[in-house]
Structures are given as structure tokens and as C-alpha cells.
């Protein structure tokens, strides 16, 4: 064995790509978990087809998982991979354009047979025609090596053995980046607890991949990526949907109100339902409704009953909830409506990300029906936003809309866990119980909240509904002045939530050349871009909105301090419309609707242009 070289790297992006059946999501997320345990900062980006099992070997069937891990703080899953692992010709075809010259390319040569090449549209094998010369190519028969390594494992068919190629590849990447195996071995042991032969096979394949690189002449250099300096604390790697579910549960515990979660399955929101269904011991009731309208109305019914009613969907399902959201505005009950956005319009591209439902959130109902809107900016921020949405809904007795997106929902990042129960804000709940002088629409002076009364409270029998209501009694009213008053009050009530919206902090100079304003899941890309520009000496600053309605109080003032305002959005220009209308600022949009998150360099180059 020759002595191998060890190089230290700051930051690496690795992408696993293969057929949907090749288990790329599993090895990708496991690579990420290990990076997290090692102490790297990280961000992940799964990108998979809409089909459950797309036809094997085809281009639309390619599934990918990218992990960005670093010894520094990072904010995105990376623009392009430094290392690309491909399991078949289709995966090569789809992904090679992203790999820069001199990038590491690991290929399973076993999959490059005539049939697969044809399916991917290759006339001849790219492994043989020299077309991959610009890469550091490692052409390895992963499948047969995996199979061979499992020669002695009993109780598995050949096919089953060969399927361990993904784990074998994972083992190779662990060698390449000097990762420990034990975490993954522990995970495999748990995962296959009931199938010991699989535990043996997978752990053996993992070790074999590792050993293969160690032994092979081809691999002369290995890398290490030291831990990132993070704030002390407990961490775990978390996906947006998981975090959102936890945030809701946390708010439920803090408020003492059990959750009623009414939802109808839809990509990419269903995992929230599936996560919450696990938390029945927290008193959570999940109701898989017959459709989105039943989902939201059942949640309104639950809120009326004194639970915290929550519903979630994605764009098309949110469209269906519009009418009922108007009812919630009218009856003024706490309610949380979550939109995990995906690429639209209509069915669009269900598994792809987009931010194109902001104006729907603002205006997708009949009448003047304002609703407060929060948007998470990163996977772990979904926890905070979910928690905050419940808190505001209860405090102001109001429906609240939360925007997440497919990128946040499926992406993961390290999350610094709240340490103690007390670290989480309290959520005081007040149910009105005093019959004396009770009027269902008499409001709190400060929050304008109306009393929340549980049916079952003696002496407080009353009636609410979607017809305009008298300002005090809540009885049906067709009075002209009353309608004006109630419309104004509903708007004012939402406006007053600004008291609970923290002022924006500017990252970068407090005033200057270019201010980049974003919202939601683009935070990481914008932040990375602004940092990069600043380190290049460009006067660029960033503010990022987590509160879209009402806006933070100091937003207008900050906008006024910059020469140029750039608004990158994964839509055709929605926040920018609101900013221009409200502040008459001649903001400039950077808009992309490709079903993919921003690349940092796309934002960087626009900032460069603007500051040129």
C-alpha cells in the first residue's frame, strides 16, 4: 500500500445521482448526517422525479441528492458539485453539465451497458470516447464490487447484493473525505433491526467501499474538511417539514392547547401530516380530510372548539381553501394555514420548488380579507415560524398564513436546539368565561382581539358566521357604517401585529449601494451572495423578510437608505410588487422560475452589475 496524501479543504459540495431505484436519497442524507456529526456546517438539496418509480434508466428517472459541507458557516447546498457520483448513464447525462473542469467524477461502470446507454441517449459510451477528459474520472465497477464484497453474506439474492452498490459508493466517499463509519453503521443496524442479513450486507458494503479506496492505486489523495466553528450547544440536522411539525408541537405544549391538524395529502406538504401523526401522545389529532376544503373547515371547527386548528397544503390546495380562509377572517378565530409552495401554476411541477404563492397568500380570497403572513427562511427556521404562527394566531385571535417551500421542506441543515423548555417563549391563552356584559365582538384595546369563547361555557351562548357582523354583538348586520368599521378593524388588527414583528437587521452596511431584499427560502443563497460580494469589496447589504404581512416597522426606512434595491425571487415578481406599491421604491427584480433554488453566483452577478 502506497502512502496516500491528505489534503485539507474548506468546503465541498458532493452530489449523488442515479436512478430513482438506486437509493440516492438514502446515501445522500446519510452522508449529510455524518457530516453533521463530524461537526461540519452543512446544507442538503434532494432533487427527485415526480414519479414514484420512474422508468429505470431514463433521464426523467434520475434522482439526485446534493450535500454542501464545510469548515465554515454555509447557507446553501452549493451551486455546483465538486464531486459527482453517478450510478448510470442517465445520471451522468443529466448532471455532468454541473460538474466543473477538474471535478471528481465517480462512475459505476457496471451500469454503462448498451441498454442503459441507449436509454440515456448516448450513442457510444462517454467512458470510452474521451468526452470526460476534463474531469478527474474514477470509473469503478461499483455494482460488481459490492456484490463481490457480499459473497459470504447469506440469505440474500444476487440482485439484493448488487443493490448495495449505493452503500459501497457511500463507503468510498467516506474514505475520500476521511469520515468515520460508525454513525452510519449504527443507523443501518437500527434501520434493519428486523432483517439481520441486511445489517450485515449494508455494513459490509460500506466497509468494502472504504477499503477499496484505501487499497486502490487510483485513489492517491484524500481530503479532510475540519469541523465548522459553531456556537456551543446541542445540534441536530433537520429538514424543513420536520422542523415545522416540531414547531407546531412546541407551540401546542407551550400554549397548553392540543393541536387539531386537518389536512389532505399533497406534495410537498404531506410529510408534515405524517410527522404530526406520530405525536398523538402530545394530544395531537390529525385528520386526513376528504379534500382541502374539509381540511381547513374542520380546523376552523376545532379552533371554534378551543383547540389550535392547523391546516396545510401546497398551492393548488391552498387555492381551494380561499373561501374558508375568508370565513376565518370574518369569524376571527385562531387558525394556522400552511402553504409548502411548489412550482405552479395549476399542478405545475409538484416536486420542484418555487415562491410563487405570495400574492395568492395576500389576496387569494374574495373581499378585503387581510391575513398575517410569515415565511420561513431556512429548514430549521421552519421551527421558529411554525411556533410563531401559533403564538400570533392565539394572541390576536386571527388566522395566520405560513409560507414554506419544497426546497426548505426537503432540505436539511444543522439546527441549534433550544436547550430548556424555558428557552421557548410562553404562549398565554385566554378563554373568555365571564358572562357579565359579554359581547362576542368587543375587542381588546391593544390587540383588537375579540374574546375566544369555548362552546360549553355556561352563559356565553352566542352565534358567529360569515355574514358581516355587528361591531359588538356579532349579530348579522347590514348597516353601512358598521361594514366600513368592521372592514377597517379587520385591517387594523392585522396591522397591529407589527408590535410582534421584530425590526429588520441589516446584514452589511447600514446604507450604501445595493440592498438585496428577499423573503422565504432564498435566504441562504442571497446571504452567501452578499457575503461574497462584500468580500470582493462591493457595498452590498441584505435584509430578509420573515414577516410579509404586516411588514416590519423599519422596512420602509431601510429601503430609503440604499441607492439600489434588488429583490431576488423564485417567481415573476411578487414581493417586489408589494414593496413598490407600499414604498414607491424603484426596486429591481431578479426573477427565476426554473423549479430550482437560486445559485449563489446568479445573485452575485446581478449585484455586481448593479454596483458597476
Amino acid at each position: 500500500m502506497t502512502t496516500k496524501q491528505l489534503k485539507s479543504l474548506d468546503t465541498v459540495v458532493i452530489r449523488f445521482a442515479g436512478d430513482s431505484g438506486d437509493g440516492m436519497q438514502i446515501v445522500g442524507s446519510e452522508f449529510g448526517n455524518t457530516a453533521a456529526i463530524v461537526g461540519n456546517d452543512l446544507a442538503t438539496f434532494p432533487d427527485f422525479p415526480a414519479e414514484i418509480r420512474a422508468p429505470a434508466g431514463t433521464l426523467p428517472g434520475v434522482s439526485g441528492f446534493q450535500v454542501h459541507f464545510s469548515a465554515n458557516e454555509i447557507f446553501t447546498p452549493g451551486d455546483q458539485p465538486d464531486v459527482l457520483v453517478v450510478m448510470n448513464p442517465a445520471a451522468l447525462k443529466v448532471n455532468r453539465g454541473d460538474l466543473p473542469d477538474n471535478g471528481i467524477l465517480i462512475v459505476d461502470t457496471d451500469a454503462f451497458d448498451a441498454r442503459n446507454l441507449k436509454k440515456a441517449g448516448y450513442e457510444q459510451s462517454p467512458l470510452e470516447d474521451g468526452s470526460l477528459a476534463q474531469f478527474r474520472l474514477f470509473a469503478v465497477p461499483l455494482t460488481s464490487l459490492a456484490e463481490k464484497s457480499l459473497r459470504d453474506v447469506e440469505g440474500l439474492t444476487t440482485k439484493e447484493k448488487r443493490r448495495n452498490k449505493n452503500i459501497f459508493a457511500l463507503g468510498m466517499t467516506y474514505w475520500l473525505f476521511s469520515r468515520p463509519l460508525d454513525n452510519t453503521i449504527k443507523w443501518l443496524t437500527q434501520k434493519y433491526a428486523k432483517k439481520p442479513q441486511h445489517v450485515e450486507a449494508t455494513t459490509t458494503a460500506l466497509r468494502a467501499g472504504y477499503a477499496y479506496c484505501d487499497a486502490s492505486e487510483a485513489f492517491q489523495v484524500r481530503y479532510e474538511v475540519p469541523p465548522a466553528p459553531s456556537q456551543p450547544g446541542l445540534y441536530k440536522s433537520i429538514q424543513g417539514n420536520e422542523a415545522l411539525a416540531l414547531g407546531l408541537v412546541a407551540a401546542s405544549v407551550k400554549s397548553g392547547l392540543p393541536i387539531f391538524y386537518g389536512s389532505y395529502p399533497i406534495t410537498p406538504a404531506s410529510p408534515v401530516l405524517e410527522a404530526l401523526a406520530q405525536y398523538k401522545n402530545f394530544g395531537v389529532i390529525t385528520f386526513q380530510a376528504e379534500d382541502e376544503i374539509a381540511a381547513v373547515t374542520s380546523a376552523i371547527g376545532a379552533s371554534f372548539g378551543g383547540r389550535i386548528g392547523i391546516t396545510a397544503s401546497s398551492g393548488p390546495g391552498i387555492a381551494l381553501k380561499g373561501e374558508a380562509m375568508g370565513l376565518a377572517v370574518m369569524v376571527e378565530l385562531p387558525l394556522v394555514i400552511i402553504n409548502v409552495q411548489r412550482a405552479g401554476p395549476s399542478t405545475g411541477m409538484p416536486t420542484k420548488t418555487e415562491q410563487s404563492d405570495l400574492l395568492q397568500a395576500m389576496f387569494g380570497r374574495n373581499g378585503d380579507a387581510p391575513i398575517p403572513i410569515l415565511a420561513a427562511r431556512s429548514p430549521s427556521d421552519c421551527f421558529e415560524i411554525g411556533f410563531e404562527a401559533v403564538r400570533i394566531a392565539i394572541k390576536y385571535v386571527v388566522p395566520v398564513l405560513v409560507l414554506s417551500d419544497g426546497y426548505l421542506a426537503n432540505g436539511a441543515e444543522p439546527w441549534k436546539l433550544p436547550h430548556k423548555f424555558e428557552d421557548l417563549p410562553d404562549i398565554p391563552v385566554h378563554f373568555h368565561t365571564d358572562p357579565k356584559g359579554f359581547e362576542p365582538y368587543r375587542r381588546d384595546d391593544v390587540t383588537l382581539a375579540r374574546p375566544w369563547v369555548k362552546p360549553g361555557t355556561p352563559g356565553l351562548e352566542h352565534r358567529i358566521g360569515g355574514l358581516e357582523k355587528d361591531r359588538l354583538t356579532g349579530n348579522v348586520s347590514y348597516d353601512t357604517a358598521n361594514h366600513q368599521h368592521m372592514t377597517d378593524v379587520r385591517a387594523e388588527k392585522v396591522a397591529r401585529i407589527v408590535a410582534d414583528v421584530p425590526d429588520l437587521e441589516v446584514f452589511g452596511d447600514e446604507s450604501g449601494e445595493v440592498l438585496v431584499v428577499g423573503w422565504g427560502g432564498t435566504y441562504g443563497a442571497i446571504h452567501s451572495a452578499v457575503r461574497r460580494c462584500r468580500s470582493d469589496g462591493i457595498s452590498a447589504s441584505q435584509i430578509h423578510l420573515r414577516h410579509l404581512n404586516p411588514f416590519p416597522a423599519n422596512l420602509g426606512e431601510i429601503l430609503g437608505r440604499f441607492k439600489k434595491v434588488l429583490v431576488p425571487e423564485l417567481n415573476t415578481g411578487q414581493l417586489i410588487l408589494l414593496l413598490r406599491a407600499r414604498f414607491l421604491v424603484d426596486a429591481i427584480g431578479l426573477n427565476k422560475v426554473e423549479g430550482q433554488p437560486f445559485k449563489v453566483r446568479e445573485i452575485v452577478s446581478r449585484i455586481q452589475e448593479l454596483s458597476a
Binding site: V249, K280, G305, I464, G465, V476
Partner: protein, 339 residues
């Protein structure tokens, strides 16, 4: 489940709200309202434990007029909203009131799913075979050929049979009654209230303004006896003046026979059995053609209610995993420490 509570005895007046009733003079809804208020007073449930949920329509104005908790929601969605409430608050007695348009047109699906899930809500579908509130368009229960505002040449849609539908949805309790049959209506409501699980009651109602006399065959005093078949559990299916007619089965087809002298003996008649789903369905199909309209309880079946099962899962989860511990949950999984 809702149980009777001790407390002062209630009367109908206790359930009269302070809101002025705004139905047309002569509307059948007045009689239904009065029966509901009477029946509620007999339930032994305090007013604050009762909730009426409605959709939109004339009938759906019901909650305003009954002095308990009420929610006048949006068109068609009352069963869904009530499901959320009942599952959250099994201690409440939850009633849903709506019209044929509200429940069978826009709301048909929510009705179906609430019934099949066996949610313990009591649904009153007030059927006047017309859209009252929107001023008289035909409804899904209007017979073919109905000439109304939107169908100047007559409707061409074959109508829905609400009872058949509720049976196919496997509601726990399925009955039919009539706006002006006060005692029958009240009795039906009391039985409905006592039933655990989903309840569907069709109430035939007269919309004086837009569809007067649509059920006159049932309500006309003169012909009533010949046209109404009262269903009673374990009793033979007799009707007509002095019970001179009955329903007999010929294969799977019902037929009207003369009973007693010169006719067939009572023993040959069909005997009503609320537990028999095929019989219930067969009875639900009886209409016109010399057949009487069955009134009463078509079917009952006992299953654990949706809300009870949901609550049971929460209890089981707590038994198995312990009461949820938030910090434990947050700190579970692959956690690492940065010192």
C-alpha cells in the same frame, strides 16, 4: 359522548334566541324550529353544551334562532366544520342543519364522508326540493321536469334520493320526518340525539314561496293516511285508513296489498327491521307508483364513533409512549454537541 346533566329543567322558551326570525311567513322552517326547540328542552343537555352548525341557505339560518352556541359557516361545508368541532370536543352535542342544496349539491361530499366516518354529529337535511335563499332555482332533489327560474323548459337532471345516499354512506342512524309532523319530528330528534355516531335525518319541508306543496301528498290531511308509511322497528308495514293496507315482498320487490278481510293476513307483510341494511335500502327506493312515503327510522347501526376512536388513539399513544415530553422530542435523534 354527550350525557344528560343535572340542572334546572329546560323548556322550549329557553332555546328561543333574541334574534328575530327572518323566514317568510308560512315557511315550513318555523315548525321545524319549534320542534327542535321543544326537543332540545327534553334532551337534558344544558344549552351551553349544544352547538348548531349550518351552511348557507334559508334552512341554514337555523343557528341564529336557537339559544345555544351556533356557527353559520359557508355553503356546503357544515358537516366538515362540525367534524373538526366534534372530534375536538366530544363532550358537546353537535347538530348540523342545512338545506337540500347546501347538503346534497355543493356539500354532498362532506355529508358522505362525515356519515361514513361515523362522526357523532346529528345532521338535519331540510329538504324543500328548491334553492330558497337564492330565489327559487331547482335543487338536486327536484323531480325531472321541474320548471323554475334556471330551468324554464324543465329540469333534466335525475334527482338524488337523500335516504338512499345516506344508507350507502353507511350513516349510523338514518331517518325521515316532516316539518309539520311535530311529535314525530321531536321523537326522531330525541332518538337521533341518543345515538352514538353519525345521524342523518331528512326533514321534508315546505317552501311556501318557491315550491309550495311539493310534499302535499304527505302533508295533506285528506290523503295523508294513504300516502304515509310509518316505519316502526319490529312492526309490520301497515298504512292507510285504519291500517287497511300493507307492504309485502314479492321476491325482492315490494308491493302494496290490501290487509285483513278480503286481503292478505298481516303475517304476510314485511316487518320493519332497523338493523337490516337491505330492507332499509329497499324502503328508501319506495316512491310514487301507488307506494306510500316511508317516514321514520330506516336504519340504525352501532359502531364506535370517529371522535371516540380518535380520542382512544391519543390515550393509547400516551400509554405506550408516555405523555409527550417536548424537550425529549426535540432532543431525540442524531444530536451532537458543540462544546
Amino acid at each position: 359522548m354527550t350525557t344528560a346533566m343535572d340542572g334546572p329543567k329546560l323548556t322550549k322558551k329557553d332555546f328561543v334566541s333574541d334574534q328575530q326570525v327572518r323566514w317568510c311567513p308560512g315557511c315550513g322552517d318555523y315548525a321545524i324550529l319549534s320542534s327542535v326547540q321543544h326537543a332540545f328542552a327534553k334532551l337534558g343537555i344544558p344549552r351551553h353544551k349544544i352547538v348548531i352548525i349550518s351552511g348557507i341557505g334559508c334552512a341554514a339560518r337555523f343557528p341564529y334562532y336557537v339559544d345555544c352556541f351556533g356557527f353559520h359557516t359557508i355553503h356546503g361545508r357544515a358537516p366538515a366544520l362540525a367534524t373538526g368541532l366534534k372530534v375536538s370536543r366530544p363532550d358537546l352535542s353537535v347538530w348540523v342543519v342545512g338545506g337540500d342544496g347546501d347538503m346534497l349539491s355543493i356539500g354532498g361530499n362532506h355529508l358522505l364522508h362525515a356519515l361514513r366516518r361515523n362522526v357523532g354529529i346529528k345532521i338535519l337535511c331540510i329538504n324543500n326540493r328548491i334553492y330558497g335563499l337564492t330565489k327559487g332555482q331547482y335543487s338536486p332533489t327536484s323531480p325531472v321536469g321541474t320548471v323554475k327560474k334556471s330551468t324554464p323548459m324543465g329540469s333534466i337532471d335525475r334527482p338524488v334520493n337523500p335516504i338512499s345516499l345516506a344508507l350507502a354512506a353507511e350513516a349510523g342512524f338514518v331517518a325521515r320526518t316532516v316539518d309539520v309532523f311535530g311529535p314525530h319530528l321531536q321523537e326522531t330528534l330525541l332518538r337521533a340525539a341518543a345515538h352514538e355516531g353519525s345521524v342523518f335525518v331528512e326533514v321534508l319541508q315546505n317552501c311556501l314561496i318557491f315550491n309550495d306543496a311539493t310534499f302535499s301528498n304527505v302533508t295533506d290531511r285528506a290523503s295523508r293516511e294513504d300516502n304515509v308509511l310509518y316505519l316502526e322497528h319490529q312492526k309490520p308495514l301497515l298504512f292507510g285508513a285504519g291500517g287497511d293496507k300493507g307492504i309485502r315482498l314479492n321476491g325482492l320487490k315490494p308491493e302494496v296489498v290490501r290487509v285483513g278481510e278480503g286481503g292478505v293476513p298481516e303475517s304476510e307483510l314485511l316487518v320493519h327491521d332497523e338493523k337490516d341494511e337491505s330492507l332499509a335500502y329497499l324502503l328508501s327506493r319506495m316512491e310514487g307508483d301507488g307506494f306510500p312515503t316511508p317516514i321514520g327510522t330506516f336504519r340504525t347501526q352501532e359502531h364506535v364513533s370517529y371522535e371516540a376512536a380518535a380520542a382512544q388513539q391519543v390515550r393509547t399513544a400516551r400509554e405506550q409512549k408516555g405523555e409527550g415530553d417536548l424537550m425529549k422530542l426535540i432532543h431525540s435523534g442524531d444530536v451532537w454537541t458543540v462544546p
